[in-house]
Point group: C2
Chain length 344, copies 2
């Protein structure tokens, strides 16, 4: 069983993932392993993953393909090498002055497409929207398990962003604790609300739309913007224009707009930054307080352009060589509406 | 002038380093550039750096070599491309709902050796100790400038850890604000002290020495240990056994022991992890509260073995595949006291 351990100084929980324990020589192997080779996410290899927990299969009235066979458009399976175990209870314990508990949780993979070579931004908007519906369906299902406090959904694209399989996919981790950064964001938003009686994210949406300096794109429901104090060059956020604390409570219009916004942003990033590796992270409310006035779900996009990882990790101190106004201008002006692009 | 900007949600300050603004195409160049070529840190090239602010030159009574000429063992110069500017004042301002101030600070480079090919761990203990004395001397000098609140000293070794020049060096950044992670560590340590009336780091030293599970090495004054809840595989801390909040207040015995401890740890890491890239970060008290009972300076060592940067950055959530007890055992058992090693 993996273990959750708490740092006694700053209170951060980390997963010590004993089940996939790594010896020193294992790290060199930590790269994309299936280039051109066998892929467990492709049609016909469904038996090579754990049984699916969700799949969208076109057709109706028994007309669809069978579980764990080809014919799906999006497929969600438990991670074969999960960072957390789904069975058992937390069993909180001390080890002298330290605190730990069992590494209980869910770790799933959302296979975004059966096409091994498609990237998310090349998929039709409707297919990207399906991926968002899969996120929602999994959140609603896992939310019923009261052991879980938070669901983290993210996508690592490209080897240098941490992807270990090249077939396009996202990941979901359900956690019995709130990650430190999530807690800080929630607390910060709550303090702002207490002081101003307004949502800080709603204020950001308003101010950025007003002055336009950091706007990358917008559509009916979503604003894509470079944040005022970005940690990384070309860090970009996608926020719903209307207040909504939990991703899973959004309307279908919002998912439709979000699919468009993601496609546009990724296409722009491909043009401006030459197909960068990137991380996409969904920030949403904790499961048991999904509706509130102070938090506002959004997506953070971080292209992997610099290498100064460890130092920033170690200090929480970021030096960003690209002003967000300039990053936003480059992305805003990148024209992805050309006919050649529209046919992708 | 670079700008310091504050994230309105979680209150983290970042430097937007406008003076070295990067356009999209600049990022591919972000790597070690002087392999085998010209090196501004070598003897004879002193004029290619800004004038030195400190240098140790053997000899006495006018017998030493001249400023900005060869003959030094350790040399400290302002960074030629500083992330922060030394002149002016903070000029705190609002930009609508956002907060910013001038990016005021010092950014210096500590050139650890005149030997282009020496790594820190290959240097004699006495030379490593000199580097530590240079850290102290620069802290004591910069501390007189009351605009500065914190001094960050760190070393990036290897391209994947963010080094952009291969000649062995460390960096110093004096800041007008406390970085978020530093603030959290200080606050966490203070809360522990208020509750227990003991320093949390002193408690860690005691418990780790007692059970030995995570001990990597120890000597007269220092303990080298894998932390209980490490974020990264083989993350290792070096702590003084006796309480001391500010690095610059330590005795010469402590610097002597620390030089030995650093050499031993880096040699062990080279053996076990095959010469990894790494970051070393000094964690010490803020300048104006250098002596207190709750904080305890230490050094954090983070080898760069995994690539999952952006996601962890974005969430504050860490999955560590190597239990610290195993990492400590590998490092503890690596024998660097062999005659072959001693002659390095």
């Amino acid at each position: 069983m993996p273990e959750l351990r708490k740092d006694p100084i700053i209170g951060r929980w980390v997963i010590i993932s004993t089940d996939r324990a790594k010896r020193p020589t294992d790290f060199v192997r930590d790269r994309i392993t299936n280039k051109g080779g066998f892929c467990p996410f492709c049609y016909g290899n469904e038996a090579k993953t754990p049984p699916e927990v969700l799949a969208y299969r076109p057709g109706q009235n028994g007309n669809q393909s069978l579980r764990d066979t080809p014919g799906w458009t999006v497929r969600v399976v438990p991670n074969k090498f999960p960072a957390l175990g789904i069975e058992g209870n937390l069993n909180r314990q001390a080890e002298g002055m330290f605190d730990k508990m069992n590494g209980l949780g869910a770790h799933e993979v959302i296979i975004e497409t059966p096409d091994h070579n498609a990237t998310l931004e090349q998929m039709p908007e409707k297919r990207i929207e399906d991926v968002l519906w899969a996120f929602r369906d999994r959140i609603l299902d896992l939310k019923q398990d009261k052991r879980f406090k938070y669901i983290l959904i993210f996508k690592n694209h490209g080897e240098s962003a941490g992807a270990s399989l090249e077939h396009s996919h996202a990941q979901l981790i359900a956690l019995p604790i709130l990650p430190k950064h999530v807690l800080e964001e929630l607390e910060g938003a709550k303090q702002y609300y207490i002081y101003k009686e307004r949502c800080v994210f709603c204020d950001i949406v308003r101010q950025e739309l007003d002055n336009g300096l950091r706007v990358v794109a917008e559509n009916d429901e979503m604003l894509t913007v470079a944040p005022f104090a970005p940690r990384f060059p070309f860090e970009t956020w996608i926020l719903p224009k209307r207040h909504e604390s939990g991703f899973e409570n959004s309307s279908s219009r919002v998912y439709e707009s979000l699919a468009k916004a993601i496609k546009t942003l990724l296409q722009k990033a491909d043009l401006v930054l030459d197909n960068p590796a990137y991380n996409l992270v969904l920030h949403t409310s904790p499961l048991q307080e999904a509706q509130n006035d102070h938090y506002h779900w959004h997506i953070e996009f971080m292209p992997k352009l610099t290498k100064t990882a460890g130092f920033e990790w170690g200090t929480g101190f970021y030096i960003n060589p690209t002003p967000p106004e300039e990053a936003a201008r480059f992305l805003r002006e990148a024209n992805v509406e050309m006919p050649a692009m529209a046919t992708r």
